[in-house]
């Protein structure tokens, strides 16, 4: 919490600081709770949002940003997804390791590489400035 400017309670604080530091980035990128949360949102998108990338992306952005992506943004996300999917298809062990992060079980009915790729895509989106500032 200190990394995220929680007041130390040694002085009265009227307005909490909001800083922007690499240590915070490390927490939201690498913290196992964040990875696990990403995985769950990814899994829901895969189960509930249909088969198309656009639908799944919309499912995620609606929940993270309360909006849909613009065409530009969608292009970027699609590019990232494509690259991640290729990487996880090439190394299924890596994908499985990612899905095992966190205490909860991963959904084994879903394809492994897809799940991993979407987990990392959601992890990316959860680190957007717009999401962190919501």
């Amino acid at each position: 919490m200190q990394i995220f400017n929680a007041p130390s309670r040694e002085h009265s604080t009227v307005r909490r600081e909001r800083t922007n530091t690499p240590l915070q980035a490390l927490v939201t990128m690498n913290g196992s709770q964040f990875i696990e949360a990403s995985r769950h949102l990814a899994q829901r998108a895969l189960r509930e949002a249909g088969d198309e990338f656009r639908q799944r992306l919309g499912f995620v952005t609606l929940r993270l940003l309360a909006r849909s992506f613009t065409e530009n943004e969608r292009t970027v996300a699609l590019q990232t997804h494509r690259e991640l999917l290729a990487m996880y298809r090439a190394d299924v062990d890596e994908a499985t390791r990612l899905l095992n992060v966190g205490d909860s079980e991963w959904d084994t009915t879903l394809p492994v590489a897809e799940s991993a790729a979407w987990t990392m895509l959601v992890n990316q989106l959860m680190n957007l400035d717009e999401v962190l500032n919501k």
């Binding site: 200190q2 980035a25 970027v76 590019q79 095992n100």
Partner: protein, 494 residues
């Protein structure tokens, strides 16, 4: 490009440069903001050293020191066994401390109940060393070898009598917590010289002997107080995760992380184009810095890149995580990489009991390592710009705590005088400053209060302690405080 794939980090750095170049061409002056490299260059123009962040008004004048390594001996080393030679005490063995010397000094509850205060002369031999002829104890043979590089202060004093307030005092300038510590002031005022590593790093070294007393260490000792939390010390831990959350999680390779960051940066940039918030750009920068830290911190902590000669100088203990020697070697590696402020807390100096036995072990761990550190700094041309400080939070009593025997004694806390040494970074070597009475109880010459030490440290970094302030709760707060005037001890400066 042909040949083997480029390392993802190199690729990323190249990509960043190309994107920024095109960004500037397309957007003209607006593109200037997008270029973190450009902005940093502009900032660096104000000083001859590259630095990032910090206040434009600092330093006030040309600094001697640019980096600091502060070796804090937690628990308070006994000055009369190490640096403050009191030969007359040999004839006072087991005699009571005269009231004329004690002058009603308050005692801790650990000894206030004693019926007697028998004097315990040091059982350690002292000799003179260097051209200055400084008297240094046999417990510190390596430190003695470099007597002419050191400024030894024998007349340090404080008001605090217990560890937590005393350490808080020497680190933050006030016994009551809530103030920023020295390192945080430096991070705030002078900024960083390195884009890949934290500006202010803290390490804890374990005690040296099973009987060493340990005191609690709390993060408030390296806290940023009322300054922004980004200036707090970053704890460097042992093991595979030297900085919390540094490592990518399982299943996330370097390549995956890089791809994720590429997309993230791009999406944030699109956002920035729409809304124009500078915070978004800062966010992009912080993520890139986090990525660089993921490379830079393990690289720094990886001792396998050190030649064998390093360990011939330092000893094999320098390889062992948790030991003081290891932390001090890390400190050298950190300042080599231009980290501004490094602090090591070495535990176990609180010799209420078993002082001779414990001190032998404690001193052994710090003595050779302190010497090796300074030799390393000199070899690398860093000594003149790196201030090294060694000392505790108060002194210890000449009278014995607990049973006194010819081979064993303990010492209680003593705020009225203690010893400390500084070296490098513009400090005058071969100086012994200040003196205590024959009992090492009261100061008789040139007292140096903790605030005076802090004012002097700031001065070495080119900062006038009275002008370096921060507005907080209506007060122009300073490291040296606003209640008592503090002086720069010019006799310690080269």
């Amino acid at each position: 490009m042909t040949g083997s794939p480029m390392h993802p980090v190199k690729q990323a750095i190249l990509n960043e440069t190309r994107r920024q170049f095109f960004g500037q061409v397309a957007k003209g002056i607006g593109g200037l903001a997008l270029s973190n490299l450009m902005a940093d260059d502009l900032l660096a123009l104000k000083q001859d050293t590259q630095s990032f962040g910090g206040l434009p008004s600092l330093p006030h004048f040309a600094p001697k020191a640019k980096r600091c390594i502060y070796l804090h001996m937690m628990g308070a080393p006994p000055q009369m066994d190490l640096l403050d030679y009191k030969p007359k005490m040999q004839s006072w063995y087991d005699k009571d401390l005269p009231e004329s010397i004690r002058q009603g000094q308050r005692l801790t509850t650990m000894t206030s109940g004693q019926a007697r205060f028998p004097i315990a002369p040091s059982i350690f031999k002292f000799n003179q060393h260097g051209q200055s002829g400084a008297w240094i104890s046999e417990l510190l043979p390596h430190t003695a070898k470099m007597a002419d590089d050191l400024a030894i202060v024998r007349s340090m004093h404080t008001e605090a009598i217990n560890h937590e307030p005393a350490i808080t005092f020497i680190q933050t300038g006030r016994q009551i917590p809530g103030q920023p510590c020295v390192g945080a002031w430096f991070a705030y005022g002078l900024g960083s010289m390195n884009r890949d590593l934290p500006t202010f790093v803290v390490m804890n070294a374990e005690k040296s002997h099973p009987k060493s007393g340990v005191q609690a260490i709390s993060a408030k000792m390296w806290s940023s107080g009322f300054l922004s939390p980004e200036y707090a010390g970053v704890g460097l831990r042992g093991g595979t995760n030297p900085v919390l959350y540094l490592q990518n999680p399982e299943g996330v390779s370097l390549d995956v992380r890089r791809k994720m960051l590429d997309g993230l940066g791009e999406l944030n940039r699109i956002q920035h184009e729409q809304l124009g918030s500078p915070e978004t750009l800062a966010r992009i920068q912080q993520y890139e810095m986090a990525f660089r830290m993921q490379m830079a911190v393990p690289e720094m902590a990886d001792l396998s890149s050190e030649p064998a000669s390093t360990f011939e100088r330092w000893g094999e203990e320098a390889k062992q995580q948790g030991k003081f020697q290891n932390a001090a070697l890390m400190a050298r590696r950190l300042v080599e990489r231009d980290v501004r402020f490094v602090q090591i807390y070495h535990r176990g100096w609180d010799v209420h009991n078993d002082a001779p036995e414990v001190l032998r072990a404690q001193a052994k761990d710090v003595d050779r390592a302190s010497w090796a550190l300074i030799q390393d700094l000199k070899e690398r041309g860093l000594f003149d710009e790196t201030l090294v400080i060694w000392g505790g939070e108060f002194g210890r009593t000449i009278y014995s705590q607990g049973k006194l025997t010819p081979t064993d004694y303990g010492r209680d806390h003593h705020p009225r005088c203690f010893s400390l040494w500084m070296a490098g970074g513009g400090v005058q070597g071969g100086v012994v400053y200040g003196a205590t009475d024959e009992f090492s109880y009261n100061i008789v010459e040139n007292p140096v209060h903790i605030r005076d030490l802090q004012a002097t440290i700031l001065h070495l970094f080119g900062i006038d302690h009275e002008r370096f302030t921060f507005k907080h709760q209506g007060l122009d707060a300073r490291l040296t405080g606003v209640e008592e005037p503090a002086r720069v001890v010019h006799e310690l400066l080269a």
